[in-house]
Structures are given as C-alpha cells and as structure tokens.
C-alpha cells in the first residue's frame, strides 16, 4: 500500500519521462488553468488529468487527491460565491447578491484548483525523489546542496511519522487516551514533541555525518551516474502543454469573460 505522495513503481510513459520535463509539463498545465475561466476548458483539462492518471495506473490516488484539493478549495469557493454578484439574482445579500454567475464562479474555483493540482501531485507519484533531485542538478544546474536538503527533508517525513506513531503507541500503552476530541488530542500530543525532537536531532546529526563520510562534499553536477536526456516524447509533451496555454489565452480573446489578470485575482 503506497503512502501519501510516495513513489509508486511502474513502467508507464509518465514513469519513463524525463523528471524535469514532467515537472515542466505539470507547471504548464497549472498555468493554463489560471489563464482562463472557461469552464469547458477547465473541465477538459480535468479530463486530461484523469486520462494521464489512468495511463500510469494512478486513478485511485488521483481521485483521493482531487477529493482532498476539492475540500480544501471549498473555502475559496465560498468566498467566490459570496463576493461575485453576477447573473440572475437568487439570494440577496447585504453587500450584493448570490446569482447564477456566483455559483458558476464558485464551481470554476474548485475545478480550476483540482485541475491544476492533480498533475503536480501525479509527478510525485511517478518520479523517484532521487531522479528528481539528480536531474534538477544536471539539467537545471540547481546546486546539489539544495537538492539534497529537499530530498532529505522528504525522505525523513515517513521516518518521523513512524517515530511519532511509535511514541503515541508507547503512551497509549500507559493509558493516555488519544481517541478523544481534537483539542484534547493536541494537548495530549504536545509533551510528546520532546522525545520526537530528541530523536530527530539525533537522526539528522547522524545522517549528516553518514553523508559526509560517503563523500557528500565531493559531489558535483557531473557526479550523478544516471543521465537524464530529453527524448522526443518529452519535447512533444512540453509542446502539447504549452499549446494548452495558447488555447487558454485564445479562449479569453475569442470569448468574453475577463482577462488573465482578473482571473488570477479572482482565484485568490
């Protein structure tokens, strides 16, 4: 059972693509989502997202993600609902009204966020962290130190979560009842940060030493053994994603409904 945002092994096209290209494509798709408020276009992007997820057998994860993002964006959708007074009036508000346009705006916010977030998260599922860091060093010349900091941080998350769950188990065994209300649970968990902190300091310290005695300081951009060449597929995918932006912008020009700038404003 794969955990949240953890690499799922596979051999699909998305698995095999260049890591940098994957990230770039995901970013381009996201930008495209923010370039237009055209609901049809956004729905189409969402459909593309799920087609991509299906292509790498990640539909279940993508659905989970979509759900999480949708719940998160409900707050933003509510704001949009209450502040955009357009369309036929349905409910009067002291400062305006909720109209059919407001509902559309709210739906747009949710769909846009989901459509733009899913590809970014999908990249995490189909890319090894090491490949991501190494390719960023090789292709984008990101200094290795930063890449290493990033990968170690992500690498340590499950280690710390495992620590925390063991610490909580140890306290449960002593009669601490964590299965209670949220506020009380937080209060019970607070003192447990001490053992967690101590074990994390120890772990990071020994990790730093372990990396150093394995030549961390010698590593340069060219050290990586694996090469990450751009293939035709990568280029085609990037172009396709760039095309999405062009379509989004063109839709704005052809169809009435706000500029890019206004859309960006509205979405935040």
């Amino acid at each position: 059972m794969a955990k949240f945002l953890e690499y799922v092994p596979g051999d699909s096209l998305m698995h095999r693509m260049n890591p940098v290209a994957k990230v770039l494509c995901a970013l381009l798709i996201s930008i495209a989502c923010f370039c237009t408020s055209n609901l049809v276009f956004l729905c189409a992007v969402l459909a593309i997202d799920f087609a991509l997820a299906a292509s790498c057998h990640m539909t279940k994860q993508a659905l989970g993600l979509a759900k999480a993002v949708a719940i998160f964006s409900i707050i933003l959708a509510l704001i949009a609902l209450l502040t955009t007074s357009t369309g036929t009036q349905l409910v009067a508000l002291p400062w305006g009204y909720i109209g059919t346009g407001s509902i559309l705006a709210a739906i747009t916010v949710v769909i846009r966020l989901v459509a733009c977030a899913v590809p970014l998260f999908l990249v995490m599922y189909v890319t090894q962290l090491n490949d991501l860091a190494n390719s960023f060093c090789k292709i984008l010349h990101v200094p290795y130190k930063y890449a290493f900091t990033f990968t170690s941080a992500v690498h340590f998350i499950p280690v710390f979560m495992n620590d925390m769950s063991q610490i909580m188990q140890a306290q449960t065994a002593r009669g601490v009842e964590f299965d209670c209300g949220f506020v009380k649970k937080i209060r019970l968990m607070a003192p447990l940060c001490v053992p967690l902190l101590i074990s994390s300091v120890r772990k990071t310290n020994s990790a730093a030493i372990a990396a150093e005695v394995r030549g961390f300081n010698l590593r340069t951009r060219d050290s990586g053994f694996k090469e990450y060449p751009f293939t035709l597929v990568d280029v085609v995918c990037i172009l396709a994603c760039a095309l999405l932006i062009v379509v989004a912008v063109a839709l704005n020009v052809v169809l009435p409904g706000g500029t890019i700038f206004m859309n960006l404003l509205a979405s935040f």
């Binding site: 020994s206 372990a210 394995r214 961390f216 010698l218």
Partner: protein, 279 residues
C-alpha cells in the same frame, strides 16, 4: 594499518576523558572486534579511527591516530573516508535514497568512480552481501537484516581498505546477525580488507574476530586473540563484558585443574575439550 599512539580524547561538552592513553596497532587484513560496557568509550574509539573525531566532534585531542598513511588530524574527513568506510549504528538515518540501487550508487558517484566501472561495482557489492535480488526494491519495504546488508553493500562498493562498523547487528535476530558476520568475514578475507567492528554479542566476536579489544572506562583493558582475551573470563564479567558460556565452562574446568590448554570460544571446541577431559 591503523596506529593509535598515546591517544586521549575529551569531548568539548564533557568534563572527563572519554578515552585515555590508548595505544593500539591494527594490522592490515585483520578482523578486529571491540567491545566493552556501555559508556566505556568503544564508540569514541571508532570515531577516532574514521576521523569523525576530531572533524565532527570537537574536543581535546592528545597523541596521534594514523590510518594508512594519513594522520587523522591533518587529513580532511573526505580523504580519510576514501580509506575508511563506516557504517554507523542508526541505519535508517544514514540511507539517502529510497531505492537500493541508488543507495549503492551514492558513494560511488561522489567519490568520482569512473562511470564505466560503476555498474560492475554495484553488482559486485550486491552479490557480496547476497542481495542481488533486492536491487530495485524500495528501501522502506526491507527488513532490518536486509537494510543492514544494503548499508554494508553501499560501503563495500567503495572498496575501502578499512571497514568500520558500530554495532551492526543490534537490531537483528541471531540468525541474521550470524549471516551478516559471515558475509563480512568472507568478503574481508577475499579482498584483504581490514574490519573493525564494535559489538555487544561476544559469542559472534569470538567466532569471527582475529583480535579482540576490550575497552573499560576509557582504557584498553585487554588486547589479543579471542582465546587470550577470553581466558580472563572473571575479569571480563567484572567489567561488564559478557563471556560465552562455553568459555566460562572450560575456564571453570581449568580452575579445577582438570584442563590446562587454551581458552575456547565456541560450543564445538568446548565439547571437544570436555570429551578430552572425560577421556
């Protein structure tokens, strides 16, 4: 060769010396077991040999530690690391990758091993530790024993002259512990590598080590072959070092005047001696 001469060390944040007047010679190709009670200074001794002292832990450093041809104070930690491969106690935190193969690659890449040589080094290291089948597995999915072997393979791939291990079998069951030690011993014998291992499990050390070093309260108390060292079973127990029961039994017979030969280290020898005594 590792050569410590009148070496003493006090950690910056401590009042007492962790190690005092240590003089020790470890010849090339030797399999050395270091043991002692908790807090006796045995881990500090390994830190001195791989340069972590004085490079990572500051403190008062007296005497000299020479590893191969490097004086550990003058040489950089990176240069010492080319010579001495270390596996520390906490395996989980020293893993830098999520996949076995990448973990082995890491050190090879850093130390600039020629790229056409890398694939063979990776396969050899995995094979030496008997984990070729784990090559593309995720490290999270491995058992403790398998992880330990990955950590060892990652260091062995670098072909260090000296391998330094701090309690490599602490988390392992007896069968896997024995397995790890025999893999190590075979590899070291084949490649003439020096192995220095800190270990609580005295029976394992007695089985595999050419030389035992017993540390007590910052000093070396005994230094010799397992037979020599283990003949002092009472003193060892006194300073908190366990002794294999087979050794204790034969030492008792010796005290009783029934046996005059050397101390034994394992069950087979003990049985042999008992049969001799009875015959």
């Amino acid at each position: 060769m590792i050569y410590l001469k009148d070496f003493s060390f006090k950690y910056a944040e401590h009042d007492n010396f962790a190690l005092r007047d240590i003089s020790l010679i470890i010849p090339d190709g030797c399999f050395v077991g270091i043991t002692g009670a908790a807090g006796s200074g045995k881990s500090t001794l390994t830190y001195a040999m791989n340069g972590i002292i004085p490079h990572c832990y500051p403190g008062d450093f007296y005497g000299s530690v020479v590893v191969g041809s490097l004086d550990t104070v003058e040489a950089s930690l990176t240069d010492i690391s080319r010579l001495v491969g270390s596996v520390c106690q906490d395996i989980d935190s020293q893993m830098v990758s999520s996949v076995v193969e990448d973990e082995i690659l890491y050190g090879l890449e850093n130390f600039g091993v020629a790229k056409d040589e890398i694939p063979s080094r990776v396969s050899e290291a995995l094979e030496a530790m008997g984990i070729s089948d784990l090559r593309s597995r995720s490290i999270d999915s491995l058992s403790g024993g398998q992880k330990q072997k990955v950590a060892l393979a990652a260091i062995i791939a670098l072909k260090p002259r000296i391998l330094l291990l701090d309690e490599p079998t602490a988390e392992l069951d007896p069968a896997s512990s024995f397995n790890v030690f025999s893999l190590l011993k075979n590899y070291a014998t084949e490649h003439g590598m020096t192995v220095v291992v800190v270990e609580q499990k005295i029976a394992l050390l007695a089985d595999f080590a050419d030389k035992l070093v017993i540390v007590d309260d910052g000093r070396i108390r005994f230094d010799g072959t397992p037979q020599e060292v283990l003949s002092h079973s009472d003193e060892l127990l006194d300073i908190g070092v366990n002794v294999p029961r087979s050794t204790s039994l034969i030492n008792r017979l010796r005290k009783r005047g029934l046996y005059r030969g050397a101390a034994v280290c394992d069950v087979a020898d003990a049985v042999r001696v008992c049969k001799e005594v009875l015959a």
